[in-house]
Symmetry: C2
Amino acid sequence: MNMGRFERDLIRFPEAIDDEDYVIVTYYLETAMDIEKAANAFAAEQSTGTWQRVGYETDDLREKHGAKVIGIYPIPGECPQNLPSGTTMKEFGAGNRCIRASVLRLAFPHINFGPKIPNLLTAVAGNLYEMGSFTAIKLIDIEFPDSYLKDFTGPRFGVKVCRDILGVYGRPLIGAIIKPCVGLSAERLAELAYQGAKGGLDFIKDDELLADTTYNSIKDRVKHVMAALKRADEEKGEKTMYAFNITDRLDRVKELHDIVVENGGNCVMLNAATIGLEAMRELAEYTEVPIHCHRDFAPMWARSPYLGISFPALTKLFRLCGADQIHCGAIQGKLYETDEEVVTNMRACTLEFGGIKDAMPVSSGGQWAGKSPVNARKIGHYDFLHLSGGGIYAHPDGAEAGARSVRQAWDAVLKGIRLEDYAKEKRELARAIEHFGSVIY
Amino acid sequence: MNMGRFERDLIRFPEAIDDEDYVIVTYYLETAMDIEKAANAFAAEQSTGTWQRVGYETDDLREKHGAKVIGIYPIPGECPQNLPSGTTMKEFGAGNRCIRASVLRLAFPHINFGPKIPNLLTAVAGNLYEMGSFTAIKLIDIEFPDSYLKDFTGPRFGVKVCRDILGVYGRPLIGAIIKPCVGLSAERLAELAYQGAKGGLDFIKDDELLADTTYNSIKDRVKHVMAALKRADEEKGEKTMYAFNITDRLDRVKELHDIVVENGGNCVMLNAATIGLEAMRELAEYTEVPIHCHRDFAPMWARSPYLGISFPALTKLFRLCGADQIHCGAIQGKLYETDEEVVTNMRACTLEFGGIKDAMPVSSGGQWAGKSPVNARKIGHYDFLHLSGGGIYAHPDGAEAGARSVRQAWDAVLKGIRLEDYAKEKRELARAIEHFGSVIY
């Protein structure tokens, strides 16, 4: 019986470790190797060792610098081969052994890498991903001691200050991504920002595909956009935050940040995975405005069940590196995650994390007014940023109407009224439902 | 008949594009959508568009900034669902459509992102990886026009200068990774470097897990190592290159480079994927010594057949970003790639690439003397760096003997003598074969 087999095979090595000295990482692993041998090979590969034990690798060195196996949890059943394994497949064939899954917990002495993101990633997510003898390797969680976290700034602003800047409480922040993604002049884009802001948006952002370009520079954009938002803010009596995408060559990021801040900009954005998490961490030490963290490129690290880093773990890393707002996927959207996975990503933005501030989770991807109820129900609280792109900018009556439709939808949600009923008196919401389809509850 | 179906379904859109204005990317794609619709949605998502066509997206804007579909090649047969697809699976179920594969070629106008690595990655490998409607997305090739390449430094030194520095021609460079990976003092590590160099190594490197640490700083290490190598070089009458791993916080990389150069170091190393490709590109503009590019973390982007970036494409990117030496996997090693895949990665180091210099490919992972013949046969030339870790440092008679064993193995290969025969007169090689196992031809 499988359950019995699971019980019998349960192995733990609660090696006596001083928690403050270690970063603890949990992996999902598939291998045809003996799981105890595999766990030790895995720990060695990522710390002191190699495929051959070296003579002068002393016990003292292993004790101080070796990764420790602190838990092995075999999973019942057999697995197919889920990743290519090069020439090591010959080994598998020869022994005629089956592939089995397990959850492995390793403790890495942080003296090996220090409070440095690139070196941390090399230690916990480096060479092991290419080992032919592991046919699945996914980092599913990462835990840091306070002694490690204390060297990181984390988000400078967090949820509270983002709300304070806007003066918005008791409901999600409502935002938009300007569409079309690229190709607009600074003047035209500012006009679109004005329309959205006027319609009630709290937040607007550059698409991740638009940064500092020859046809629309950050300098031009921040001037035109902030002037347009000043006008909109005065007219609506509310404030608007705009995330300028300063993803660029590394030597230009701080320069672009300064241009944004000097021209009255109130938020910057980084495509954190393409520029590198370390670049965001460095900006977090410097920034004077919140950092909006876009996740493009990172789904490549996270989407396979058999390889990479889980998104909740990655969200922790984004937060460690100073993201004030983090893309967490889309509730009922067009992305690959289930709603439950999105909610788990969001939890990683706010769970207790030593002295590191919380970050505001972002629900984005295929959103429009009619998805407000399902966002509210699935997420279960209002501390998030609800972002629409086409759902606002492709509203049949334009961006201002698009923004109004989402504000109206959230008014209805907060009042406990069905959107279709509320839409009887709210033209923009009615038109959105007519155009985009059924409301999702 | 499948072949007939393939012929019938072949679609091409050779849109008239000016090659100089576009970066051309080839993807492997699986989707249940109509492939032509999917290709256009894909192109829109990564350039001007979103899930909803926006009214003011003009034809002129699309013409200038939109990604162009320049080839669609449907693959015969049906696919299982190879990646999770969130709530979009409902769509698939409803229509009861099968998932089909295709190869898709897209042309991205580089005016959208400019000669900037993070923005390039966002454009070609950004949001599309999280689209639920694509159940496999792998970037398999990327081609750049000269007008784009001209803004990149590429490798400063390349194969020729790396050889000139050492004065080694007509055979592979022979190198080692110091083991144990971490935990050694600078003095102890320098002593091990001396032993290896004395035994005939051309090249030695820090393990990717060792960088600038509290117990062994770059400053101490470069002093001790370079003094030890000076001694070894005088004694052996040959030169040795040492790659110091300066992967660190971004604001320390150039400082560490300077420490290496000022103390006589002749090579620096970066874990390019964990620190970010852009960080290497920036260093390439600045460096005075060759850059050794370690690939740890990148297998997470490359190993799944259904997600990410192929390693040959990634190798091109490493080269574009200035790597003089690039890890390409291991021939008959412990990694996930077949030998043929490793050889393809290696080709990407040297193929014609506009004005960008070539890079020296590195074969590393589970290597020792007895794998020299198979490396020679499979790679088919000698312009590569053959790196062993445990295969040298775990030699039963120590590192000097380990280094000698690999030099002897290559002498035998160059002379066309079987290693077992050559070993009759060469004790170190004999001991290696005795210890590590059978020679692979």
